[in-house]
Symmetry: C2
Subunit: 230 residues, 2 copies
């Protein structure tokens, strides 16, 4: 039985934009595991497994529910040890947590501020109300105010990617010669922006953009198969 | 024969402050390898091995010279595979390069600007002249101007450590339950500041300070044995 991936969707249910769900999509493909996705609007996440989680992704692997993208990667690594490793050993498993923390602490917040209104605009109406209320409460400003002036913040955002850019002078992936889950935790937020917002957050000649292109090409173009927002 | 570590020294030759040399000290201790250090002022690095490197650390392992802290760690890992691993496997080896890149790109530059005049003041006179000329050329300001107003930049510096801080909510070391070389690449710059500058860059109640304290305690207090700058 295929693994079921419950993942976030936009008003257009085919548009899957969650950075955290993309990490899991890439992890499932990396492991070569068959899966089906279930599009889930924000306001229906609570229905998954009778209230199992307040966030997606959630996977259902033959009745076993697992939530949280990193925990799902750990689960897949342990449940399918004969498939290609997501971490490349114990050191890679531990150090991937640092890469995740970097992405969450340094990349997600400024990136959200570049695209938050664009996210809102592509959600279905009930999700728009939820998204606006929850994000405006968390961030203390209206979505329009948060996103305003984003062109002026673009250089600062690109500067936050300096660690990845510097590393790419040494090796083509965070995982070395080939990608690991640590790549997907950095890929996730950039794919989020690509799928939900027409605002170009990377310069074409940035080594980070070249790495992102390599990630989009993985697994028969899994990432590239999701159309960019127009 | 013990490994020889050529490392940077201050005017007081016992004061070893280089972040990159500290990474190697910790790596040698991690591997349980006997070593002797050779204090080297900036202006005498060129004498090591007849001009082998323009930077330290340099190690001499029975006549084999290796330079660059990361390359030294890779060398030690491969040359002493039966000793405790510095990387915890191939995934850890690759991902450590990301942690190094984060430290170099996000931590070192703002930290240098907090302590650059303090570094200068603790060097021997010939090194002071070299250090001032080279750093002022690189940074485009006088050392006094770079360091001025550092109290106002402290919060921003501490914010750059957010990825490490977030990760520490999950695990006590970058390496997981125990340290790996990835910890030492983040430890290095903080030890640099501790040994060369009286300016307190970490708040005592910061989880990063607690992790730094754990690193100082490793290997019978190797890091703590180097007195903090008064």
């Amino acid at each position: 039985m295929d693994i079921v991936l419950h993942e976030l969707c936009a008003g257009d249910k085919a548009r899957r934009f969650s950075p955290h769900c993309w990490k899991v999509r890439m992890a499932l493909a990396h492991k070569g595991l068959a899966y089906e996705t279930r599009p889930t609007p924000f306001t229906r996440i609570k229905e998954i497994g009778g209230g199992f989680s307040h966030t997606v992704p959630v996977i259902d692997d033959g009745g076993k529910l697992v939530r949280d993208s990193f925990d799902i990667a750990l689960y897949l690594e342990d449940a399918y040890p004969d498939r290609p490793s997501l971490f490349g050993g114990e050191g890679g498993r531990a150090t991937a947590r640092f890469v995740e923390s970097w992405a969450l602490a340094a990349v997600h917040p400024p990136l959200l501020a570049l695209i938050v209104k664009d996210i809102h605009d592509r959600l279905a109406a009930p999700d728009q109300a939820y998204f606006r209320a929850s994000r405006e409460k968390r961030l203390g400003l209206r979505l329009e105010e948060i996103q305003a002036g984003r062109e002026g913040r673009l250089d600062a955002f690109r500067a936050t990617l300096a660690p990845l850019r510097l590393m790419l002078g040494k090796q083509p992936f965070v995982g070395g010669e080939a990608p690991l889950f640590a790549d997907y935790v950095a890929f996730g937020p950039l794919q989020w922006a690509r799928v939900i917002s027409p605002f170009a957050v990377l310069a074409d000649d940035d080594p980070v953009a070249e790495w992102f292109g390599r990630c989009l090409d993985l697994y028969d173009g899994l990432g590239r198969g999701m159309p960019a927002a127009a």
